[in-house]
């Protein structure tokens, strides 16, 4: 235990060898989030209902109430208007094809699942009305500042950036510092040492774990401060991140071991972090996109992580289709990553046949 704590001490001393890289890796997602939260539109919804003087408007509101909404009835604020505005993109249209009437609704790709769920409810409400008499009238929807019971998109976006923050810190620092060992020749110290390498790797992973949790913690703090919304379990969120941090650490360290050069390993860490973030439910839950995208997204460890984190930010609403499958997937990825790291460490550091 004393040896492990000494190894860990050495690992943290390495902060002194690359303070700028550490700060970038730890703070970049938080800075990015703060910047984006300033410029990002907060999407909530306002409905404009044509012909407010008619009885249709009142009937539509009743239909919405009847159908309900996943985020509560206050989420929808119906406003009756005289004319449908043709400039609105998000229009629910009733069209007739071959004598059959259809309610047509268009989604944007970066719309959150929350948006889509709401629209589904609206569509359902329209269908209730349709049975009565819609005639030639339409309903348009546009976004407006968020309402009290809604959780804004900034929360989803911030929540989905927490895995990014953890991944980026672990992969970037792990890769960069490992490559530096080769560039500075200090890897020789590890090649000749009698201490067992699993203990050395454990110290490195522990260091990266603590740094990554620090990076994620800072973002978590800013997410709460900016939105005023805090997750229901701070500890659960951070426990969920552990497999991703281990995977990221392994990928980062492996990049450093393979490239033996700090710039490529830095770029690999950066590219994989952002690719995982973008594909792995960074802008919306995987199920909210196309089938092919969802399949690809589910291969990325960020997706099960976000789905498992979701209830802690969204009033315990479970969105993962199979929580056990998500857990098994993460366990599998983590074990595979650790095995990969051990194999590459043996090949690149301990192997004599070079």
């Amino acid at each position: 235990m004393r040896r492990f704590s000494l190894l860990l001490r050495n690992e943290f001393k390495s902060f002194l060898t690359a303070p700028v890289v550490h700060l970038i890796a730890i703070l970049q997602p938080t800075l990015m989030y703060i910047l984006m939260s300033v410029i990002m539109v907060v999407p909530t919804f306002e409905m404009r209902i044509v012909n407010p003087s008619s009885s249709l408007g009142a009937r539509f509101i009743a239909a919405v109430d009847e159908v309900g909404s996943p985020v509560g009835p206050d989420y929808i604020e119906p406003i009756l208007v005289d004319d449908p505005s043709p400039g609105f993109r998000q229009v629910v249209e009733i069209i007739e094809t071959d004598g059959n009437s259809t309610a047509l609704q268009t989604y944007g790709y970066i719309d959150s699942n929350l948006v889509k769920n709401l629209r589904n409810r609206l569509t359902a409400a329209l269908l209730v009305l349709w049975n009565i008499d819609l005639g030639d009238q339409g309903i348009t929807i546009h976004e407006h500042p968020w309402l009290p019971n809604d959780i804004p998109y900034t929360v989803y976006f911030g929540m989905a950036m927490i895995p990014l923050a953890a991944y980026l810190a672990a992969a970037m620092i792990g890769g960069y510092l490992m490559a530096q060992e080769f560039e500075n020749g200090t890897i020789l110290i590890y090649r000749l040492c009698p201490t067992s390498y699993p203990l050395i790797l454990a110290a490195k992973l522990t260091r990266l774990m603590i740094i990554a949790l620090t990076g994620a913690g800072i973002l978590y703090l800013f997410l709460g401060l900016i939105t005023g919304i805090w997750s229901s379990s701070f500890i659960a969120v951070f426990v969920i991140l552990i497999p991703l941090i281990l995977i990221a650490s392994c990928i980062g360290l492996a990049a450093g071991l393979i490239t033996r050069s700090s710039l490529p390993s830095f770029l690999i860490a950066l590219a994989s972090a952002f690719a995982f973030w973008l594909i792995g439910s960074g802008f919306g839950l995987a199920a909210g996109f196309s089938t092919i995208f969802e399949k690809i997204s589910r291969l990325i460890p960020n997706t099960p992580i976000i789905e498992m984190m979701f209830p802690y930010f969204y009033y315990e609403r479970q969105v993962a289709a199979h929580p056990l499958a998500a857990k098994l997937q993460l366990v599998g990825y983590t074990l595979s990553s650790l095995i990969m790291l051990v194999f590459i460490y043996q090949k690149r550091v301990l192997s004599k046949d070079r």
Partner: protein, 312 residues
């Protein structure tokens, strides 16, 4: 009971593609001696150290360090061996003491006494007063001394020192030699690689001369030089001697080299006993500006065996 050799190298060969870096090399290093690997750059000295330390695997032959096979008992060897590589691989942004702590965590079996050992070694290498300073602020000599202190931290029995004084000034060089000799007196075995003849001559108890990965001579520096049977004579004259072979024909000379217009170098048996006679012969037709008669150096030994100077 006979004392066990510190290192036994038996017929090792290592190739990199078609290049034979080490060719059927054998030697032993006794415990408590300073053993030198002397040879020009690219001779294979660092490769030999890497093979002995198990950083590379020999394609043929066997290596034992303190009785342990380097391939199957690597960890036992690493517990008992220290290494100061050619490129001083210290953490430049960490302090001297932090570099030692880093090493201690990875190498020291007994962590309870490591703090005292650090103080002892930093005092020994005259670095205690700079222990909290970042290594990047150290001179080349200080870095080499710190690297030596680090290699000694886990109290190894054998220390490998690759080019100990490369890039170190004269004062630093002498200090390092003293440190190495002091450690040898305490029973440590040193294997040093060098292309510095003075270093090899001053420091080594025995040495092997390496060229193209092969051992071309192995003995004490004194015996290697004594085996040359001649003295080296260098003379400056004016005007230059045009036909030195004719002028020096009465004497048992060989390898006459004219390396400047007015400077001649040749080898001559027992030159020190015939100096006056030689001066008389030269001054009959030339003005003798200087004459130097020297015992052969290790460079001469290398020249004798390979036909070229060590520094070439």
């Amino acid at each position: 009971m006979a004392q066990q050799n510190a290192i036994e190298v038996k017929s090792i060969t290592r190739k990199f593609g078609k290049l034979v870096a080490v060719d059927d090399l054998s030697f032993t290093v006794e415990q408590g001696e300073i053993f030198g690997l002397l040879g020009p750059n690219g001779a294979g000295k660092t490769t030999i150290i890497n093979l002995i330390l198990g950083l590379l695997k020999a394609q043929q032959g066997e290596i034992h360090v303190l009785g342990f096979d380097i391939n199957s008992q690597t960890r036992q060897v690493y517990r008992r061996a220290g290494y100061v590589p050619q490129e001083t691989n210290l953490y430049q942004d960490l302090s001297a003491i932090d570099n030692l702590w880093h090493h201690a965590a990875l190498y020291c079996q007994d962590l309870s006494s490591v703090k005292d050992r650090m103080e002892e070694l930093l005092n020994f290498t005259n670095l205690w007063h700079r222990r909290k300073d970042p290594v990047r602020t150290f001179s080349g000599g200080m870095k080499r001394r710190l690297a030596l202190a680090r290699a000694l931290l886990h109290d190894p029995e054998v220390i490998f020192f690759d080019e100990p004084t490369l890039g170190v000034d004269v004062q630093g060089r002498i200090a390092l030699w003293e440190h190495i000799q002091q450690q040898r007196e305490e029973g440590k075995t040193f294997v040093i690689s060098t292309n510095n003849m003075v270093e090899a001559d001053t420091l080594c108890d025995r040495l092997v001369i390496i060229d193209h990965g092969q051992s071309i001579a192995l003995d004490t520096p004194e015996n290697l030089k004594a085996g040359m049977q001649y003295d080296v004579v260098s003379i400056h004259t004016s005007p230059p001697i045009v036909e030195p072979e004719t002028l020096l024909s009465p004497y048992p000379v060989q390898n006459i080299t004219q390396f400047e217009p007015d400077c001649l170098r040749f080898e001559m048996e027992n030159a020190d006993t015939r100096t006056a006679e030689l001066i008389n012969t030269i001054t009959k037709e030339h003005q003798l500006d200087s004459i130097l008669i020297a015992r052969p150096s290790l460079d001469d030994v290398f020249l004798f065996h390979t036909g070229r100077a060590l520094r070439e």
